[in-house]
């Protein structure tokens, strides 16, 4: 019996809250090297997040959605993918898309308002960052369906939040996935809050995972702040999607139970709707010290290794910030680029008009408004 075939409320855990291997659990088969890489990526994500929030505060970047607390779910799930698999992110999966090949400076550029920041780097299997909630879910279903029709071995992993499960697109996307039995994994980052609305007010159902049952496939809850559990569950779901056993369905919904430590975005003030006590309680499950404790216990990292990693991620993030801030404001012609494969005449005329305006008034005057 696979780890995902269980009741939707039987949450999978591999590590205790303190970071010890649970007596009833198996650690995933991951080399020490991969484990350290996973840990490093999570540390990097945390540091990136702190710096990004402070850039916004200093007016060096626009609104930014922080991910602290969610690094374990993002990184470990992305680690479970094979080279050919794809992810469909929302707007908060900075660490997941990094794991799949996006550079940090590109993510920064996106939140600095540059179109180029949302252009997937070549050879990365990442769909675009999606802002309208839940709309990426049917896309993942469709891409998985196409992969099945073309008989490839690709699996599509789609991320979304707890709030997204209330949108019609969530239901339509999962229903199609069930009906056409497509190789997709629906990964719900249940961070307890959709801005100010708590998970209990999003649905009267006791779990989100159980929603999969209604679409005829497996739904499983995992401790989303336990990276080893997330890895195991996602890996099992991906393998089932790729190569189902007799009687198994391809799609799976994973509900990764976790917590957003910070604000919804830098424009949000969580003190209006939630208690600091609650935040502190969840911080005890922080995925980073938890994985670190495990790795130290296994003798995989020690003080020196942790310190080296910390220095290393600080440098990588600082470099990314420098690179992003060194990029000039995009040329105004970029407004007109990539609207269509071929620019219609009317757009050409409007572009020429913009050029005349710039010649006549200068950029400073146009940017003043």
């Amino acid at each position: 019996m696979s780890i995902i075939q269980r009741g939707p409320d039987e949450q999978v855990q591999v590590l205790t809250d303190e970071g010890e291997l649970r007596p009833d659990a198996d650690a995933p088969e991951l080399s020490d090297e991969r484990l350290v890489e996973m840990y490093r990526t999570m540390k990097l994500a945390r540091h990136f997040d702190e710096r990004a929030v402070s850039l916004q505060r200093q007016g060096r970047m626009g609104t930014y959605p922080p991910m602290s607390g969610q690094e374990g779910a993002q990184v470990a799930s992305a680690f479970a993918l094979a080279e050919q698999d794809w992810i469909f992110p929302s707007y908060r999966e900075h660490a997941a898309i990094y794991t799949r090949g996006w550079s940090l400076d590109q993510t920064l550029l996106y939140w600095m308002g540059h179109e180029g920041g949302n252009s997937p780097p070549p050879d990365t299997n990442v769909f675009t960052v999606t802002v309208p909630i839940a709309t990426q879910i049917p896309h993942a279903t469709g891409a998985a369906w196409a992969a099945k029709l073309r008989d490839t071995s690709e699996v599509m992993l789609c991320y979304f939040g707890d709030g997204a499960t209330s949108e019609g697109d969530f239901h339509e996307g999962l229903n199609f996935a069930g009906v056409f039995d497509v190789p997709a994994v629906f990964f719900c980052n249940n961070n307890q809050w959709a801005i100010s609305v708590p998970r209990e007010r999003q649905t009267a159902a006791s779990t989100l995972a159980q929603k999969a049952t209604a679409y005829g496939f497996d739904g499983v809850q995992v401790d989303g702040m336990d990276p080893l559990a997330v890895y195991r569950v996602t890996k099992a779901a991906i393998e089932k999607a790729r190569d189902p056993e007799e009687g198994e369905t391809r799609p799976t919904m994973i509900e990764a139970v976790q917590y957003r430590f910070g604000a919804h975005t830098t424009a949000d003030d969580p003190s209006v709707y939630r208690d600091e006590d609650e935040v502190q309680r969840w911080k005890e499950k922080d995925p980073i010290p938890r994985l670190e404790t495990y790795l130290r216990g296994e003798g995989v990292v020690d003080d020196d290794a942790v310190e080296a990693i910390e220095a290393d991620v600080r440098e990588e993030v600082a470099d990314a910030i420098e690179t992003a801030e060194g990029v000039q404001r995009p040329a105004p012609e970029e407004l007109f680029a990539h609207v269509y494969a071929e620019m219609p005449q009317r757009l050409e005329q409007q572009l020429a008009y913009l050029q005349r305006l710039r010649d006549r008034h200068g950029d400073d005057a146009l940017l003043e408004s």
Binding site: E115, S196, V272, R346, L367, S369
Partner: protein, 332 residues
């Protein structure tokens, strides 16, 4: 200052809140619903304090579902309540599009007047606040194009409160679009007491004899600025439409027949915009008064860009001044 009634200097978003407060107080059937509108007071604080004042049954946080919000508001409205759903940003109205256009707009017509849909869908709209993707659109024409819906866009705090009250009391569904660029841009004296500003009436913001400038929403301010900037050369009359549907064409025509010259300033993409409808109607009905081609200063026919380029997208005073001069100096 000697006034009979007390007033406060409010921003536009505070005036919206004040308007909602007044209507919730006036009529038990009125209720506010949407994402993050209760305890959080809305992401722009347009509903701040309302939950505290009116409680769980009148100010309601819903699940994250625009179709659910608008669809259930339609059922409530048909039943006899006066729901005022908020959609967090105009860019997130699309999941509710079917409900708005296939049902809210048509319920009266379909049921031959037996069922009606008196509700107000509020949404912040427009660009200029350095927001992420899909938080800056001006898609008013989606709804202007839909018979059965009214579309209202305030441009001042005083109007925001009065127009919102009218919209809530209106027997038909209203899409109430709040230009968030000017949510907090300036304050204006707003009476504490309830009042209404009628729907379907444009306002003359500046009287002038030479050119008629037609605009609405956040563009009203740069339009007035531009009119002042060229005041030595051209005397511009600035009209703020306030209600986009049904349009107060009478005020537009009267002004145009006086000046013979006009331009439309809109933030929305030019093609298929309200400006085009205004130009077409003026040519049909007032051709013989026309002394120059009617100009349009509009958003480009491109997606609204991420914020690094948004200032190039939005019409601003220089562009508007150019437009005024082109219209004013044209000679046949």
């Amino acid at each position: 200052m000697s006034t009979d009634t007390a007033s406060q200097r409010l921003t536009l978003v505070q005036a919206v809140r004040d308007g909602l407060y007044g209507e919730l107080e006036r009529d038990d059937d009125v209720l506010v619903m949407g994402e993050d509108v209760a305890e959080n007071g809305g992401v722009f604080r347009a509903t701040q304090g309302l939950h505290e004042a009116f409680g769980d049954d009148r100010v309601i946080d819903t699940p994250l579902s625009e179709s659910g919000i608008v669809g259930s508001a339609i059922g409530m409205a048909a039943y006899g309540l006066r729901p005022v759903p908020e959609i967090q940003f105009m860019g997130f109205i699309p999941p509710a599009f079917d409900q708005l256009t296939s049902h809210a707009a048509r319920l009266r017509n379909r049921s031959r007047g037996r069922y009606t849909c008196p509700m107000v869908v509020r949404a912040p709209y427009g660009g200029g606040i350095r927001a992420p993707e899909l938080h800056s659109e001006s898609k008013e024409m989606w709804f202007v194009h839909e018979p059965g819906l009214k579309v209202v866009v305030p441009s001042t705090p005083h109007d925001a409160k009065g127009l919102l009250a009218s919209a809530i009391r209106d027997p038909d569904p209203v899409v109430f679009l709040e230009p968030k660029l000017i949510y907090r841009a300036f304050r204006e004296s707003v009476p504490d007491e309830r009042y209404t500003v009628p729907l379907g009436e444009a306002a003359v913001r500046r009287e002038g004899a030479d050119v008629t400038l037609i605009t609405w929403g956040a563009m009203t301010r740069p339009a007035i600025e531009a009119a002042e900037a060229v005041a030595d050369e051209v005397d511009v009359e600035v009209l703020d439409l306030r209600t986009l549907s049904p349009l107060d064409f009478e005020t537009v025509r009267t002004s145009f027949e006086k000046t013979g010259r006009a331009l439309v300033v809109q933030e929305a993409p030019r093609t298929g915009g309200l400006g085009s409808e205004i130009v077409a109607t003026l040519q049909e009905e007032s051709l013989l008064y026309q002394e120059a081609p009617i100009e349009q200063v509009a958003g480009f026919d491109t997606p609204f860009p991420l914020y690094a380029l948004e200032d190039y997208y939005l019409p601003e005073s220089d562009r508007i001044e150019d437009g005024i001069r082109a219209v004013a100096t044209y000679e046949i």
